[in-house]
């Protein structure tokens, strides 16, 4: 009910509507509210396989630990969450403990722990009454390697790292004073990707939203720092990026961020986008010590020698067939310049974005440039779908490195250089975390298994203690 209605008028309406109809309208409103919360929390991106049925699961999340398969969260009684009570639902979403056991933190329950009681109720109503059951068995189950397949170990992890409490609906509902913080920290769970993780794979809160690597991509620094973060972006640019996945002259969304725009952010209200922008302005600045100027600060490309570019080439059949060149200029004109143009300025309307004034090219890492070349870009927006083809089948790793270096040299951060091995590593998902590298080695080494078991036992004891102290 709109807040500005005079109490007297409200009373008239309330008495005029039969009780039953009002109860129905109220449930409908809550389902609608839940649908919006589900959008803001981006449940769709992971729990719907591209081309599959809504919330039917099956999407593969490539985690540093291995593939995690998102589950069916439709109201199917057999394969989904149709039999869950609201308490069970709340516990799964906010604490990571489903009736069947512990969830992996690919499900961002550490963020969702802050969901208000009102919103979790609306979300439960939406998933049980507002969505259609998908009665299909899963094609694949999560099967992480030992020791990560021991889901009960997550109890210990949760004890160490899961600390959130539900926020109050009074301040987090639309228009509330903490709405922006609630959207960023809790629903949109920005820190899941944008906050670096410590050796235990938990978010390092001292560097909240300072940027992190994920599956080869780099989720950039969202702090208010003027050089490494978003301090140099205007409000309009930030809002345009959140809504359309593109801020001309700054950056564009690809990889996981394209999915976040497609499934979640572009569906948010203007007021909520404004609230996000306002909150981001308050995030403690974190400067990357290796960065001295913003990633978008290279505004003009270095010129190219047309005489070299237009020199006659060998036109023998063998030469016309031979595609092994690692000449960055040749690769750029053949593969990139049709859209991004000879001098990297993109098209006039920026449908094809400029490579100059672009954080993917001028920033402190070339990861997103390399990943965009390899995997392409695919982003549905409210104004059509944006696509860049993937080049991983057309260019080998050395060629990707040389064209990336050409782009860095001419249009962006000419201080960084990538080689074929860097490209190969990113293609495979980037450097593995400490926990992944060492836990498996520890598990394989006979003596170390004892250490793991001791560690695990300790966790179990702590966990039991916590449970008993609750009761």
């Amino acid at each position: 009910m709109p807040r500005y209605l005079a109490p007297g008028l409200g009373l008239v309406i309330l008495t005029a509507i039969p009780r039953l109809a009002m109860a129905q309208a109220s449930t409908e409103d809550l389902v609608r509210q839940g649908a919006y919360i589900a959008r803001a929390a981006d449940c769709m991106a992971c729990h719907t396989n591209p081309g599959g049925k809504s919330y039917g699961g099956g999407y593969v999340i490539s985690s540093p630990l291995g593939d995690i398969i998102a589950t069916n969260i439709s109201p199917s009684r057999q394969y989904g969450i149709g039999n869950w009570t609201e308490t069970q639902f709340s516990r799964a979403v906010r604490e990571g403990i489903a009736p069947e056991g512990h969830l992996y933190p690919a499900m961002p329950y550490t963020a969702y722990s802050g969901i208000s009681d009102a919103d979790i109720h609306a979300l439960y109503l939406y998933f049980t009454k507002g969505t259609k059951p998908v009665d299909l068995p899963p094609e694949r189950h999560t099967a992480l390697p030992f020791p990560f397949n021991q889901r009960w170990l997550m109890a210990g992890w949760n004890l160490l790292y899961s600390t959130g409490k539900p926020m109050s609906a009074a301040t987090t509902a639309a228009g509330g004073t903490q709405r922006g913080e609630y959207l960023v920290k809790v629903l949109a769970h920005c820190s899941t990707c944008h906050t670096p993780r410590n050796i235990g794979m938990s978010e390092d809160q001292s560097r909240f939203l300072a940027g992190a690597d994920l599956g080869g991509w780099h989720a950039p620094n969202l702090t208010s720092d003027a050089i490494s973060g978003l301090g140099g972006w205007s409000d309009d640019e930030l809002k345009s990026y959140l809504r359309d996945g593109a801020a001309h002259g700054k950056s564009q969304a690809a990889g996981g961020m394209a999915e976040a725009v497609e499934h979640s952010l572009r569906h948010l209200t203007d007021a909520d986008l404004d609230a996000i922008v306002r909150y981001l302005r308050t995030v403690k600045p974190v400067r990357n010590p290796n960065q001295s100027r913003p990633g978008f600060s290279v505004t003009t490309g270095k010129p190219v020698d047309l005489a070299v570019l237009d020199a006659p080439i060998n036109r023998s059949p063998d030469a016309l067939t031979n595609a092994s060149s690692i000449n960055g200029a040749e690769l750029y004109t053949g593969a990139c310049a049709s859209c991004h143009q000879l001098n990297g300025q993109g098209t006039h309307d920026q449908f094809y974005p400029s490579l100059t004034s672009n954080t993917a090219v001028g920033g402190p890492t070339a990861q997103n440039l390399v990943m965009a070349i390899l995997k392409g870009v695919n982003r549905a927006t409210n104004n059509g779908t944006v696509t860049m083809p993937a080049f991983e089948k057309q260019l080998n790793d050395a060629q990707v490195a040389s064209v990336a270096n050409y782009v860095l040299q001419r249009f962006g951060n000419d201080a960084i250089h990538v080689n074929a091995a860097d490209v190969t590593l990113l293609k495979e998902g980037g450097a593995k975390s400490f926990l992944v590298r060492y836990a498996q080695i520890a598990a394989i080494g006979g003596v170390s298994i004892m250490a793991v078991l001791v560690f695990v036992s300790l966790i179990v004891i702590l966990y039991k203690n916590r449970n008993s102290s609750k009761e």
Binding site: L320, A323, T347, G384, F391
Partner: protein, 530 residues
Amino acid sequence: MTIQYDADVIVVGSGALGSNAAYELLKHGKSVIVLESGQSIPRWKIVENFRSSPRKGNHNDPYPNQPWAPTSFSPGYIENTGNFKFLPGMLRLVGGTTWHWAGATWRFLPNDMKLKTLYGVGRDWPISYEDLEPYYGRAEFNLGVAGSDTQDQSGQGSNHQFPARSTPYPVSPEAETYYFQRLKARLAPEGFNFIHEPNARTNQPWDGRPGCSGNNNCMPVCPIGAMYSGDVHARHVQALGGKIIENATVFKLEKGPDGKIVAAHYRTSEHKDVRLTARYFIIASNGLETPKLLLMSDVANASDQVGRNLMDHTGMGLQFLADEPLWPGRGQVQQGGIFNWRDGDFRREHSAIKHALTNTVPNRAITQHLLSQGIVGPELDEKIKDWAARWVDISTVFELLPSPSNRIQPSTTRRDALGIPTMTIHYDTDDYIEKGAAVAKADYAKFVAGMGGTVINDNTGWQNRDHIMGTVLMGDDAKTSVVNGECRSWDHSNLFMATTGVIPACGVVNPTLAGVALAIRSADIIAKEV
């Protein structure tokens, strides 16, 4: 004893038709080897070959012309003996000649397939539109075809969709260019029916391809891969475990004692001969190389029709300057055309006619024309600016009738670098299209008058349109046709043709989509038997 085969199916040729057939067979779980005389080249390299080419008007120029895989433009490769120089721009590389086409993907009309029955000329197809309809839908899906679900594509001006479809077009049509809008606005009132051209230049992301952004360079190469080319399904074939052997020119199909084909023999670029066996064979080497291979192998020709009945949509053109700027060259290289003469009782007397509105950036054509008139200096610059805004280019095609004397044969005197015969083509135009040409020229006069135009050229003479049909035509009688309605050889039950050469009545529409649909249909049939 169990016979061991190298593959369930061998496909000769990796173009759009061969690759789609191989892809469908792989989806059915069959093992497939594709033999390709050319090589695989990534798009960026072909774009770079084009960018650096001094011969931008030669559509084969960015593509290699290897001694062991000569393109049709290789000097002396095609020897002509008729009144018309038949010289289509065929390529030899993985993905085939759809690397350069304009992606026109019309369906034939039901009446196109009953030409003899309805109008007493030419031949009928042995299958009906309804037989092919579901496969058209699958072909359109594979190619990501953009088309209108509301137009009467027969050009007869009805206000409902025709021909009937069981599935909507996978992609909705692109917006009309200003050029198309203005021509339609001024000529439609004169009674000309403008129809949007369904096309495989997707305007939305499709199957890893980006949407067309109007580079206007479909021929010789789409620089971004928005336009469909056979390389898309050649890659899909490899992703599904199919094997594509490059530099493998098939020169002989080997007959077994039971009348089946038992092996394909190919020669490598190193002149090494290899024999591969399979249960089934699909020949998808285009409408010229396919009959040449059959004739060289002395197979499938009990009817003596192999290589005969060669048809193209032999055409002509009109260029004129309109009295207003139309800004041709923005967007797609073609977007549709005028279809009043697509079907009707007149087909008893003269050929069906399609007028396509060419929308290629005209600067090169204009400059060449002006230079040939001796115009240079500032006047040249001024005229290019003026003409490029007002240029109208109509590309007209005609429906040929099959004639046994129009034929392609292996050369008896010349051989290529591998020692394989080159080809001899005899092609005469006939009265049926000459009568059509008179009708088209009357239309030309109306177009020019309707646009307040000044003619630049309305007498181009006959031109190649690169739509090769008829050379291994299908029919319902083994005595008069090469393959049956399944595209299966009448003489060898395990030999199929996947080429537009099977088309026995050619209408006026670009035949590639029908070829892909027939190839998918053949693949389904083979999958049930292997």
